[in-house]
Structures are given as C-alpha cells and as structure tokens.
Amino acid sequence: MTTITEPVSVTSPTDLARRIALPAVLVVLIGIATALQPSFMSGSNIQDILTQAAPLGMVVLGQTLVILVRGLDLSVASLMATVAVLATAFNATSNAMIPVIFVAAMVLSAMVGLASGLLITRRNVSPFLATLAMMIVLQGLRFAYTHGAPAGSLPPGFRTLGTGQFFGIPIDLCAFALLFGVLGLMMHRSALGRQIYIVGGNPRAADLVGIRSDRITILCYVLSSMLAGLGGLFLVGYVGTVDNFVGRGYELDSIIAAVVGGVALSGGRGTLAGAVTGALILVVMFNIVIILGLPIQAQLVIRGTIIIAAAALFARNARGA
C-alpha cells in the first residue's frame, strides 16, 4: 500500500537485502545439492529439473498475477487435470489435432477464470471461496465424465511437447521462457502492468483514478486459468499419461513459490521474477530430498515448514496479510 507509485523499484536497504537474499538462497541450495551429489550440476540433470519445473513455472506466473490483485487461485491444479482429461476426450491419433486441443483447452480455461473473476468482482465473493468452489465443481465434472478412470488417448506429438528439445533446450522450458518474457514486459513496461500493481496496492484508489479495477482483476483470473491450462497440457506431455490428478498439489506449490519469492498475499507487492525464483528454490529443495534418499513424504513436511518460514520472514507488520 505504501509504494504503489513505484511498485518495482528498490525503495529501501531492506528491500535491496531481500532482492539479493532470494537468489542467494537459491545459489546456496544449488551448492548444497552439488556437494551432496556432484552430478546434480550435470547438463542432463539440470535439463531434467527444468523440464519438470516448467509447468509449475507457468502456474506460478498466473498465481502471482492473482495474488498481486489481492486474490488467490485454488482452482489451478483442478483445472490442470480437467484440461488434461479434455485433451484425451478428443481421442486424437493425429498430431494435426494438437492445435485444436490447445484452443479448446484455452477456451475452457478462460471461461473458468472468467467465472471466478466475475464471482469475485461482481458478487464480492472471497477469492478463496470462489476458486475453491470452482476447484470442487471442476473435480466433480471431471470425475463424472471419466467415471474415475480417464480412457482416451493423446496425439503422439504431445510427448514431444513435454519431453522434447529445441536446439538442446527443453520445449516446455522454451514455452515457459516465452510466457515469462511476455508477461514480464506486460508487468513492467506496459500501462496494464502498472494498473495491476495499483489495483493490488489500493483498489479504491485505482477506481478513483479511473482504472477499472474489476476488469483488471477479472483479467488476472482469466490469465491465471489460461496459464494453469497451458501448464496442464505441458505436464501431460511430460508425464505421458492422463489421470484425474494431473497437477495435484500445484495449487499449494504455486502459492508457496510466490510467497517464498516475496509476493505479498496482501497484494500489490512482488514480482514475477521473484516468484519464479521461489519456484526454483522449491524444485531444488525437492531434489535435495530425493538426493538424500529421504522418503517422498518428507517433501510434505519440508513444504509446510518452508511456507510458514517464508511467510514469517516476509511478514512486515504484526497483522501482516
């Protein structure tokens, strides 16, 4: 609320320290992982990690947008799975169907985001409840359609999208980088981006200066849903099979990544780059769990600890968000 006029610039030494702290934590974690297992830094392992991280990264971009406008999107994981089921519904065997699948998935995602956004802005429903309800409705529809076990098949090209490479760079990572670049430009070089920060910083002030905060908010939910839909498609390509829980846990992980990356849940503060760094920190930590040979459930304990610790670290005043 205090820095709405210069949302992205460094305003104080503490801010500066925070900005350096985040990449520093990432570097330290990478150092630890490498010390534990030197092959961590090998080209193929890094490629693996980034291929896995790209779909999460897409979801994180969207989650950050809605958190910036004082929201939250709990429906992202459910939407990812729903989009995955939709992709198999075409039962396509030819790669020519891939664009059709993408368009259908994007239309569905945009509609879900629009519905959440309308509930939140027009009916003043809390973002938490609106997206929660959306999550449950999508889950029910998906299970009702698949009767519990998805059956259809995906075009063979999907696997390439999830695991293939483009001049040695994973394709899904290229897609993520493109989205990150475009959204980064939007946030920091366009009027729309500044409006998003203003709406998140102080919606009433935004209305007073003539910004349609409702529309900006709805747009953020639509973008979040579309990014989650894209994440779902690429994740299906990576995993290769569709079940009802593609993307399970991504709603929590994307929120954790944003919070760890310094995006304030109270809105208006934080950057996409920070959130993406947060996502990388998360991914490297999960990898360390695997390197250490700990049971996969230990990740849950670590997740919980990180999110509380990170949120406490960034809490600015006694009542915070």
Partner: protein, 318 residues
C-alpha cells in the same frame, strides 16, 4: 458504522438461517416424494450419526472463521488424531481412555501452535494452517502408508450406539454445539470472539485480549478436529492415513452455508449446525437417488457458490 451495523447484522443472520431452514424443509419434502426410505426416522437418525464427524470439525471451523481467520489444518488434524489413537491404543483396554485424553490435548496444543504462529508472525492463518496441514500429513505418511492400529471392541460399538433412542455421536455433536453456542452468546469470551473478528485492532485497543482470544479459538479448532479423528477410530476401528483428506474443504461449506462470513465477526453456531444437517441430508438424498459421488462434488461446489453469492459480504474479505 457500529450503530448502523447492529440491526442490519441481525436481519442478515436471520435471513441466512431462514434460508437454510427453508432448504432443509424443501430437501425433506422432495426426498419424501423421491424415496420411501428417505424421510423415515431410521434414515434420519443415520444421517444424524454420520453428520457428527463433519459437525465436530465445522464447530471448530466456525470459531476460526468468526475470529477472522480460517483453519485449513483440520483435515490433517483429523487424520493425525485418527492414526495416533489407533496406533497408541493398539487394542488395549487400559490405554483407550488415556489415548483419547492425550489426542484431545495434542489437538488443542497443535491448534494453539497455529494460533501462536499466526499472532506472533502476522502471517495469514490460511498460510500458517496450510503449512501445518502439510507437516502433519507428511509426518503421518512417514509413519504409515496403510491403515494401522486398532481399538477395543467396546469403543467401536460406541460410534453406532444409541442413548434414549438417539445416536450417541449425534447427541455429542448437538451438546458440543450447544455449549459453544452458549459460550459465544453469553460469555465475555464469546463477545470478544465477535469483537476480534469484527475488527482486530479496535478490539485490542478497547482492551480486549485479542491475542489470547485468537489463540484459544485455534486451540478449540484443533480440539474439535482431534475429536472428529477419535470418532472416526470408533467408526472404523483403525487409523487411516487418508481419512481426513476431504474434511478440510467439507468443513468450510456448512460454515459458509450457515451464514458465517469469511473475514469474521458475523455468524454463529446455529447456522453451522443447520448447514451440517443440510449438507448431510443432501448427500444422503443424492445417495438414495443413486447420484454418483462425483456429481455430489459438483452439487457441493454449486451450494458454496450459491451461498456466498446470496449473502454478499460487503465488508472485509479473506
């Protein structure tokens, strides 16, 4: 603002409760025409018995929401309590009562930790309790991936027993709800819960122990979730590391449907009790109509959307 808000608030609460009561009547009437077995005493008593677990958790959730927060750790707490009791007791008669006491104390203690972290760090309870949920789930799954442990047979009977012709579990739920409702309506603590939920800073400046009230509310929520976990042991006779998974979200629906508003300060236990009955009846009716669980989820989502869209909250949002 305060003088204008009071009469309006009364009208709102009555509106929410009247709506739920109306819906209950509609569901009962509709159910009676659809199935012969729905509106029978036997079935309604079964519903009351099955509603107990959701009811316990929803009482705690109502308190957390009233004070302006939310408790997303209740599902994990139900699971942890469930596995703890079954593993600790392990079929022993002697350990049964100590196990129950221990789990309720532990539940309250973990809830208290939620409260302390929330109050001391200023982190939003949504995040704190999600974190706690993740930690609890992780610990339980590190301990066991399969249902484990057992309890004495007499404790298993308890879940299905009746007293005065009514299921014991349903009675315990109603008594607990009545006690909490009385505390909220008649004690200084209850008034403080509404005051803190209405405006934390104002309540603190007015000399109310806002921090202590918040801590006690989260402790109560942990206590009730642990109670639900213990009740599940009685129902199933074992500790299931997945039993509480759906409870977190399920506990929020009756609270919201009953007219308690996210953001705090408005609502109450009566609405939640009616909300629990409504949700349980609807699910029961859908079962009779052979509607799949999957469609029941859709219905639940639509109920949330309808409820929160009807009772528009023009004040704070969570």
């Amino acid at each position: 603002m305060a003088s204008a808000a009071i009469p309006r608030r009364r009208v709102r609460i009555d509106l929410a409760i009247a709506t739920v009561v109306g819906l209950l009547i509609v569901v009962l009437g509709f159910g009676a025409t659809v199935s012969d077995r729905f509106a029978t005493t036997a079935n309604l008593l079964t519903v009351a018995e099955q509603a107990a677990a959701l009811g316990f958790v929803a009482i705690g959730q109502t308190l957390a929401v009233l004070v302006g927060g939310i408790d997303l750790s209740v599902g994990a707490m139900v699971t942890a309590a469930n596995v703890f009791v079954a593993s600790f007791v392990h079929g022993s008669d002697v350990l049964m009562i100590p196990g129950l006491v221990a789990v309720l104390v532990l539940g309250a203690a973990i809830g208290l930790v939620n409260g302390i972290v929330t109050v001391r760090t200023g982190v939003h309870p949504l995040i704190v309790t999600l974190g706690t949920a993740s930690i609890l789930n992780g610990l339980v799954l590190l301990y066991t991936l399969q249902p484990t442990g057992k309890v004495p047979a007499w404790f298993e009977d308890f879940a299905y027993d009746t007293a005065f012709g009514l299921p014991i579990a349903g009675l315990v739920f109603l008594i607990a709800a009545a006690i909490v409702a009385l505390v909220l309506a008649r004690t200084g603590f209850g008034r403080a819960v509404y005051a803190v939920g209405g405006n934390y800073e104002a309540a603190r400046l007015a000399g109310l122990p806002a921090e202590r009230v918040t801590l006690m509310v989260y402790a109560a929520s942990g206590f009730f979730a642990a109670l639900a976990g213990a009740y599940y042991v009685s129902r199933t006779g074992t500790g299931d590391p997945r039993v509480g998974d759906p409870m977190t979200l399920a506990s929020i629906t009756p609270v919201v449907v009953g007219g308690t508003q996210l953001g705090g300060g408005k609502g109450g236990i009566l609405g939640t009790v009616l909300g629990v009955l409504l949700i349980s009846l609807v699910n029961n009716l859908l079962n009779y109509m052979n509607v799949s669980t999957f469609i029941q989820w859709v219905v639940q989502g639509l109920i949330i959307i309808t409820a929160v869209s009807l009772f528009v909250n023009r004040g704070k949002r969570l």
